[in-house]
């Protein structure tokens, strides 16, 4: 448990430079800061937070309440950014006027080196529309939605997390919980939809037969364009509805949809 807390701390802090800078800030405040208020907020408080964070008894108690996954959020209350910024500016203010721009430049460089620019994070991308969900999701949802009714559609994995953000009247037989916890085990349809070749009989079975494996009857089935379907879908009453933004949208004509 304690080791996990240490691991969380290490991954939370990233490069050691930031930790070093923070520790130097605390030492500086201990030696130079005379204002008791600032000492409480930026020296005593962070030190106590750190002591508590690494205290095995505290770890055990808090783990019991909030769980180990989010224990790192306890570190949020330690005002690292504010402490480092305050210390940097305080030191800068004590220097001679001529040295201040150099010191400020050096500290800026240190921030750039010790941290990571957030916008180069690979999870960032240019938004495709004002909703910040993939345009394919928007267009498919707009095409299949029925006003005043809920419909069910099976989407491939990459679209699952966006569909109900955009349109909550579109239900799915599998949602993000399938990706999070039970990938490929209790959600065979999700696994099937990302295959390059899909057996039509399996697809029909998993999107219709709710008593024997399928979770919910699906009005629509969305697969990536170019997916090879092994068999004849039309024989089962499932027809190609449209091809939208690189996805084939199939419509199951055997279910009432409320038109």
């Amino acid at each position: 448990m304690w080791k996990k807390a240490v691991d969380l701390f290490v991954t939370y802090m990233g490069s050691g430079i930031l930790v070093a800078w923070f520790v130097i800030s605390l030492v500086y405040l201990y030696l130079k800061e005379r204002d008791s208020v600032k000492r409480i907020v930026f020296l005593y408080f962070p030190v106590i937070v750190l002591v508590l964070y690494f205290n095995p008894l505290f770890v055990k108690m808090v783990y019991g309440i909030i769980g180990e996954e989010i224990y790192y959020r306890f570190l949020w209350i330690m005002p690292m950014t504010l402490t480092i910024s305050y210390t940097t500016v305080s030191i800068c203010g004590r220097l001679k006027k001529g040295l201040q721009p150099f010191f400020a430049g050096l500290c800026t460089l240190l921030i750039v080196i010790s941290g990571k620019l957030i916008y180069v994070n690979p999870f960032f991308s240019v938004a495709e529309n004002e909703y910040h969900v993939p345009e394919a999701v928007v267009q498919i949802c707009d095409a299949i939605a029925v006003e005043g009714r809920e419909i069910t559609a099976a989407f491939p994995m990459e679209m699952v997390q966006y569909v109900r953000q955009y349109d909550s009247t579109i239900c799915m037989p599998h949602g993000r919980e399938a990706i999070l916890w039970d990938w490929g085990m209790d959600f065979p349809l999700l696994e099937l939809l990302v295959q390059e070749e899909i057996d039509v009989e399996d697809l029909v079975y998993l999107t219709r037969d709710t008593e024997n494996g399928g979770r919910f009857p699906c009005n629509y089935i969305i697969v990536r364009e170019g997916t090879v379907l092994l068999g004849d879908l039309e024989k089962h009453g499932i027809v190609l509805f449209d091809t939208i933004e690189g996805y084939d949208v199939y419509f199951d004509t055997t279910f009432y949809i409320g038109y």
Binding site: N121, T152, R176
Partner: protein
Amino acid sequence: MIVWGSLILLFWLGILPVIVGSIFTGKGCINNNSIVYRFMSGNMLLWAVFQVICVPCVVKEKSFVLVVTGYVLVSLLLFAIGIFCGVKNPLRPERSRRPELGEKLAVTVFAILLLLQVVCAVVLTYADGDDAFYVAVSSITNSSNTMYMINPYSVGATELDVRHGLAPFPVWIAFLARVSGLHTTMVAHVIVAVYLILMSYGAFYLVGVQLFRDKKQMLPPFMVFVSLQVLFGDNSFRTPENFMLARSRQGKAAMGSIIIPMIVFLMLVILNQLKEARAVGIRTWIALAATVTAACLCTTLGTFLTCMMIGVMGICSLFVYKKWRTVGQMALCCIPAVCFALLYFVLG
């Protein structure tokens, strides 16, 4: 539609908080002339009110319409009180000193960095799986008028989700979408994202003002360094800086980068008044209690984090200033968090 909706949101997110924030001004209050202080404290009170109205409705499985109606009525009442207080304590332009060249430069750099972050919040998107829950909850709430009763991930009704239902930040987003008529997803991903970033810097600014009361020329460089650390704060996906810029529509982000700096700011105000042997005004205590309650809106963990912050700083102040009464008052401000925490354990 978008123009009309934007004007409505300008009222709810811009004008209303500033007017309501006037309640926290008056004799004995600091920051009377700061529009940022009024904006931030007004927001804290409005979030607290939303929490107090929404949670009972969630627990009792009432309609979202009831929350909207109740919150609109109470907000308008606060608006009227705020106007009354604002007339008594109007914003007066302070005598500004002539800024030095370095200060001007720092203000310009900060403005550029802030603009960059706002523009990026609009034109860039961050693929975060948690949005499949939080944004979907907002979307479902707005479209179905139910709260935490429908599985946001896939389909079907579900049991009341107490853990998330006690911190109904997504319902606040649904409220904004409902009153403005704008698409919930757009409100969450664009408008709320930008708004929370601006609020974060509002909180950082207030902290800076308290830190550099006697050296105002140090405030712009302080804001620049804070901004740089936020921009380069992606040391891991767990930092509050990452949450602030990447997941800025989630309550957790608001907790890390708005509520916590606001608690720091209010504790600086209170401790400074203790140090100077001045009485802490009732409005400051109300602002602290409101911020604690607002923390509960953002995340259930807010109950624990805010109490820890106030508790540890309070005990430190006891050793330094020996003022039992003030520590008792700090403890009273934690009562809302304790109540919501108890509710969590009782219902959970």
